[in-house]
Structures are given as structure tokens and as C-alpha cells.
């Protein structure tokens, strides 16, 4: 993934503490393709924002909030989780590739867990990109 696709992380300020892992470009030092946007609460994340990220060319979106049950504002993480799973409006449009969206619910201390999941997610997205490219390349031959 030399000119790799960006993975956008939408994370709340009280979830996993990534401050020590970020460089000046708001990207993870260990995974420069992962760029981080912070919110006061994961409940503020609009599905429209996820769609905008994917439309602009992001390879994937990681949503990260606090442990379910421990949202500082009581319900934010449950709200965004239910919006993503379709149980609560507004939801993701049908056209959105749901394989490219993952949600994590981590406490402030769990930054190592976040890194592990982010690394695995980046690899998964690379694989997805590879299969998409190869299936697109195969089409003209099929025609």
C-alpha cells in the first residue's frame, strides 16, 4: 500500500488515549495512513461524516467510543453504535460498503488494543482494495 488509502479514525476525547501516538499531521506515528479526528463524544459522529470520508477516497473508517455503559455523556456510544447497525435513525445509506466501517468501544487506558485493531483493520482494507482492483480488472475480459 505504497500510495495507500487513508483510514480515518473518528474517536471521542475520553475513549482510548491516542495523544501520545499522534504526529503533527494528526496521524498515528506507527500507522501514518491512519488519520485521527477527535470529537467531544462518539455520539456526535454523523453517518454522513462516514459517508463523506469514504466518498472522498478513504479506504476505511474506524469509529471509537468509550466502553458501552461508560459514556461520559451517558448514551453517546450506544447512539452511534445503533446508528451504524441500522437500529436508530439516521443511519448509513445502503450504498455504503459496510465492510469498510468498524467500531471499537475502548476505555482511556486501552490504546494498545486500539493500535492492534487498527493495524489489523488496515491490513483488511488493503486486502479489500486488492480484491476490488482485481475484480474490476477482470470485468472487461468477462464482457
Amino acid at each position: 500500500m505504497a500510495a495507500g488509502k487513508t483510514v480515518i479514525t473518528l474517536i471521542c476525547e475520553r475513549a482510548a488515549d491516542l495523544n501520545s501516538l499522534l504526529n503533527e499531521q494528526d496521524a498515528l506515528s506507527e500507522l501514518p495512513d491512519v488519520r485521527v479526528v477527535k470529537f467531544p463524544c462518539s455520539g456526535m459522529i454523523q453517518p454522513l461524516m462516514i459517508e463523506a470520508a469514504l466518498k472522498a477516497g478513504a479506504g476505511g473508517v474506524i469509529v471509537c467510543g468509550c466502553q458501552i455503559g461508560d459514556c461520559f455523556y451517558r448514551e453517546g456510544n450506544k447512539m452511534i453504535r445503533d446508528r451504524l447497525t441500522g437500529e436508530r435513525p439516521p443511519g448509513l445509506k445502503k450504498a455504503v460498503d459496510r465492510r469498510r466501517v468498524m467500531a471499537l468501544w475502548l476505555s482511556r487506558r486501552q490504546k494498545e488494543r486500539f493500535l492492534t485493531e487498527a493495524k489489523e483493520f488496515v491490513l483488511q482494507m488493503q486486502k479489500l482494495d486488492a480484491t476490488d482492483v482485481s475484480s474490476k480488472a477482470a470485468e472487461p475480459a468477462a464482457k
Binding site: 459496510r98 471499537l104 468501544w105
Partner: protein
């Protein structure tokens, strides 16, 4: 069905709950001593296990260590009631631990969306 040590533990806890509920709770209600009411003696006789049950119960009841565990200092006369409280605690705890083991969400920290296509 049985995938690992957790499932075995759940079965053990479920059996413990049932044992306590089926045997020790009724025993406590009857006073947790060796006295059997007539209707129970008749029932056991019908089932053919009267001697087996009554003899074993009596020897258990006279077993000083078992009674020593169950004896409450101030409540000697109402020992059955307090034994009931103890056994109900055991049954409820076993049941709730089993329920928690069954119900705990392994993926509580991650949500992956189902690809609809």
C-alpha cells in the same frame, strides 16, 4: 455444544443450582433436622426409597460437623429458616454466575457491520 472449560463450568453451576433447589431448600423448609412429616414418609414408601432416604438423612443430621456449619447462634429454634436463607444464597449465586457466563458478550469492545450485499 460444549466448547471449552467455560461450558463445563456452566453445566456444573446449573446442576448445583438444581441440587440445592430440589433437595436442600425443601429440607430447610421442613426444619433442617431429621424429622419427616407423615405425608413425606408415605410418599417415600410409595416410591420405595423410604429406608434409603430416611437412614441417610438421619446419619447426616447427626453428623456433628454438618450441623455445626449450619447452626446459627441465636436462631437454634428456627434453624430451618436460616438454613433456607443459606441454601437460597447458594442457589441464586450459582444460577447468576452461570447466567453471567452464558450472557457475557465476547465482542463487547468491537462492532463489525454486517455486509448486506
Amino acid at each position: 455444544m460444549i466448547k471449552g472449560p467455560k461450558d463445563i463450568l456452566i453445566i456444573i453451576l446449573a446442576l448445583a443450582t438444581l441440587t440445592v433447589a430440589a433437595i436442600f431448600l425443601p429440607w430447610s423448609e421442613l426444619g433442617f433436622n431429621g424429622n419427616f412429616p407423615d405425608w413425606l414418609k408415605d410418599l417415600l414408601q410409595h416410591l420405595g426409597i423410604a429406608d434409603l432416604v430416611i437412614n441417610n438423612f438421619n446419619s447426616l443430621a447427626q453428623h456433628k460437623q454438618l450441623m455445626g456449619i449450619i447452626k446459627s447462634d441465636h436462631a437454634v429454634d428456627k434453624m430451618g429458616d436460616y438454613a433456607y436463607a443459606l441454601f437460597l444464597f447458594l442457589a441464586m449465586s450459582a444460577a447468576s454466575i452461570a447466567i453471567i457466563l452464558v450472557g457475557k458478550e465476547e465482542n463487547a469492545e468491537k462492532t463489525v457491520l454486517e455486509a448486506k450485499k
